[in-house]
């Protein structure tokens, strides 16, 4: 008898506050597993965002700091520069990273800060009650776009990975999804590579994870993953955009 899968030591024993079927928990798990497998859990310092992930410090089994809304890359910059031997990562949602924190993330990447960013894109503001985010798709209904988002009113959704991939300081950028076991395994490989980027001292690394929000999308968890596949992946194509040493 051999155990082939069990709860990772990279997470605490605390049960998360996330809604049933929310893929935040899945992304937490992948980050925890990568930190353990790279042997850097004890050296890791995470920076939690504002949003549904705000209480991530209760769930990651490493040192954590909670930052002001969108400012996680700035806080992580400070931590990494003072403690360069630590493995510093930010965990941010799309409301946090792609809206109020756009400035912070662009300049962290532009400076080539040696941090790793996990960007969870679920195309909506989760914690505050399902408002439209910069990543909300055209036609998607939210509490602040009742008839669906329109280009005329709100422009087109922002593709953060493509934007950051134009910067030389960004050494690893990949977009993944967690809608099925194959993509989850690919997401884990990308997250591990993003941490390896930091360990190699290369520069900034980010993984954008297309994620679901069953509650604010108004769907069952399985329907939400189907919606993600049919609507989000066509607009946000999966794949690697920058990869050092390849």
């Amino acid at each position: 008898m051999s155990i082939i899968y069990e709860r990772t030591n990279g997470l605490t024993k605390t049960s998360t506050h996330y809604c049933p079927g929310c893929t935040h928990g899945l992304v937490h798990k992948l980050v925890g597993e990568c930190l353990v497998e790279l042997g850097v859990l004890g050296e890791a310092i995470g920076v939690a965002p504002v949003g549904c992930g705000v209480m991530a410090y209760n769930y990651f089994n490493c040192d954590m700091q909670q930052s002001a809304h969108g400012r996680a890359p700035a806080v992580a910059t400070g931590i990494k520069r003072v403690l360069p031997d630590k493995v510093v990562f930010t965990y941010q949602g799309d409301g946090d990273l792609a809206s109020i924190g756009t400035n912070e993330i662009i300049h962290a990447a532009h400076r080539g800060e040696k941090i790793t960013t996990i960007f969870v894109n679920n195309a909506i503001y989760g914690m505050t009650g399902g408002q439209m985010a910069p990543t909300t798709l055209i036609g998607q209904r939210t509490t602040t776009s009742k008839s669906g988002r329109t280009v005329e009113h709100s422009g087109s959704p922002i593709r953060v990975s493509e934007m950051l991939a134009t910067l030389d300081g960004a050494r690893f950028i990949e977009r993944v999804a967690v809608n099925n076991p194959v993509n989850v395994r690919r997401a884990k490989r990308a997250i591990k590579r993003a941490f390896e980027t930091q360990l190699a001292g290369e520069g900034f690394a980010m993984v954008e994870v297309l994620s679901s929000c069953p509650t604010n999308w108004g769907m069952e968890p399985l329907d939400a993953l189907k919606w993600l596949k049919e609507n989000m992946i066509p607009y946000y194509p999966l794949g690697n955009l920058r990869n050092w040493g390849v």
């Binding site: 155990i3 935040h24 928990g25 069953p214 968890p221 993953l225």
Partner: protein
């Protein structure tokens, strides 16, 4: 019929009955127990026919709440 190649344990304190595991099970042997609720008030995931488990671990990979442990029998 082939013998079970492994088995799956559900930690019900973590399970929120989201059913993501039921869909990805290659043997189609996971379902929600609609007869019971956990201490959190969810219908927990259960395995209905252990003899068919092939230890693919898809259920555990997809579980957002890390509630699943998978063991593979030695040959």
């Amino acid at each position: 019929m082939a013998a079970a190649r492994g088995t799956v344990y559900f930690e019900e304190d973590y399970c929120k009955g989201c059913s993501l595991c039921t869909d990805v099970c290659t043997a189609k042997i996971i379902t929600l127990d609609m007869e019971r609720v956990t201490s959190k008030g969810y219908h927990p995931a259960i395995i209905i026919d252990e003899s068919k488990c092939n230890a693919c671990a898809n259920c555990a990979v997809m579980c957002p709440d890390s509630a699943i442990r998978v063991e593979r029998f030695d040959k």
